[in-house]
Each structure stands twice: as C-alpha cells, then as structure tokens.
Symmetry: C2
Subunit: 118 residues, 2 copies
DNA sequence: GAATTCGCTATCATTTCGATAGCAAGTGGG
DNA sequence: CCCACTTGCTATCGAAATGATAGCGAATTC
C-alpha cells in the first residue's frame, strides 16, 4: 500500500470531506514537514544535504515527507536537488512570519517561567 | 515521566539548541495541534465540543495536545471551556491566511490531476 | 438522589517514527 | 575496464505516537 497522502477532497485527519485547510494541516502536521519546507527556503539541497540540515532525520522519514510534498506540488526534484516549487514558495512566504513570532513567543514563555507567581 | 513538551531553549526535533522556530514546528507538527488552534479561533469550546469539532479525535490525543498547548501559553482553560490566549490569537492571525491559500492550492492540484499529460 | 454534563484516565491495537545498514545508478578518473 | 565517490534511496526492526473504546469521579441540575 503506497503511503496515504493527504489530498483536498479526500478524507483527511480533521475533515471527512477533505476541506483544503484540513488536508494542509494533515500534511504539515507530520514530523519534519514544516522543517523541510523551512530548510528548502534557503535554496535547493540534495537529499543528503537536506538530511544533514535536519539534524540527521532518518532517510526513511525524509523520503516519505518528500514524496508527500512532491505529490502536493510543494517540492520538486531536478538535477540541482530538491527545491520549493512556486506553490511551495508561496506557502513559505506565509510561514515566514512564524520565525519572528516564535522568537517573541520564546521570550513570553521565558518570562512566565522566570516569574513563577504574581 | 510527564509527556515531553517542546520548549524553546531545550532540544527539540530540528534543533538540538532549541531554536524557537523549531520548537514551534515540533509543537505544531503533531497530530491535531493545528486543527485545535483552528477550531478554537471560533470561540471557546468545552473538551467535548472540541472533540466533536475535530471529528472524533480520541480524548487521549486531544488531552495531550491541550496539555502541550496550555504549557506553551497558546491555549487556556476556564469556566467557559478551552480558548486561545492572546498569544494563541496572535499565532492564529498568522495561520489564518493558510485558509484561502489552501483553497487555491486545492485548485492547483485538481488542475494538475485533471490534465495528466503535457 | 437520579440524571447529565464535563474533563478526563485506562487499556490495547495500529500506525508512525527513528536508527542503522547497505544497495543500485551515475560520474569521473586512471 | 576498474575503482572510488556521491546521490537517492530501500530494508529491517525496535520505540514512540496515535486511534478507538470503555468508563470513572466531580460538579451541576433537577
């Protein structure tokens, strides 16, 4: 059975009718999916470079994620390695603001944990 | 051992040093995490309402996700049920554009699969 | 005090992930 | 041709996460 890939219009986690946002969440809500997109935003990478950039993610999982992202037209593969498609880059541009946000979020958590009580 | 919750500054999937963006990806890259935030953006929900809104996610997983999101200051719980914190709403505002994007993405995939060859 | 609702926990099967080993195809010498 | 090297994987197997179902204890309402 060839891995089940979340697709809009087919039942996915969160939506039996395959609402696009839920298909996307199903796709991105898997280990390393967001990390792979993030890493590829810096330019094309070979399978092994990508594996190294993701701190040693196992080839099993990396390959599965790449298959899913290729099937979803977010990533493509050519002579220069793996890279984001136009669609993938558009998605990344929406994710990019999470970077700065995460830094602020980290500060918030640190404060909260530094000042245990009111 | 009480579930390991991804926290900026501690080793997480994608970053041994706990870079905030990778901690966030670790947190959001778990089943139902994005879906829960999405559902709660419509207002507070009880545990059971939330479970129903997520098409029957098992209480085991829902509770685990809620614990993680509470520990991350994204979700809180009070007399009116579970709801997004200010931090959580800020995060949602960044995720919201994914809704329209996913709809366009679904169209792209449909076209590609409707026109099999060049 | 019986019936509901709410927020879970317990249990167990299934699925996914993670780690390691290694292979087949392509490239480029020598 | 032969060898070394890189690339893109697949195979195997144990560990961890997820999914499905049952049900409990506390609080609220009648």
């Amino acid at each position: 059975m060839p891995d089940k890939i979340p697709t809009p219009g087919s039942p996915v986690r969160g939506s039996k009718t395959g609402k696009p946002i839920m298909a996307l969440f199903d796709l991105l809500g898997r280990s390393w999916a967001l990390g792979v997109i993030w890493q590829l935003s810096n330019g094309p990478k070979t399978f092994r470079d990508l594996q190294a950039a993701c701190e040693g993610v196992s080839p099993t999982v990396l390959n599965r994620r790449l298959k899913e992202l290729k099937a979803s037209a977010i990533v493509a593969h050519d002579g220069n390695g793996y890279h984001l498609t136009d669609t993938g880059m558009a998605l990344f541009s929406l994710l990019q603001p999470l970077g700065p946000w995460a830094i602020e979020w980290a500060k918030t958590l640190e404060e909260r944990d530094t000042l245990p009580d009111a």
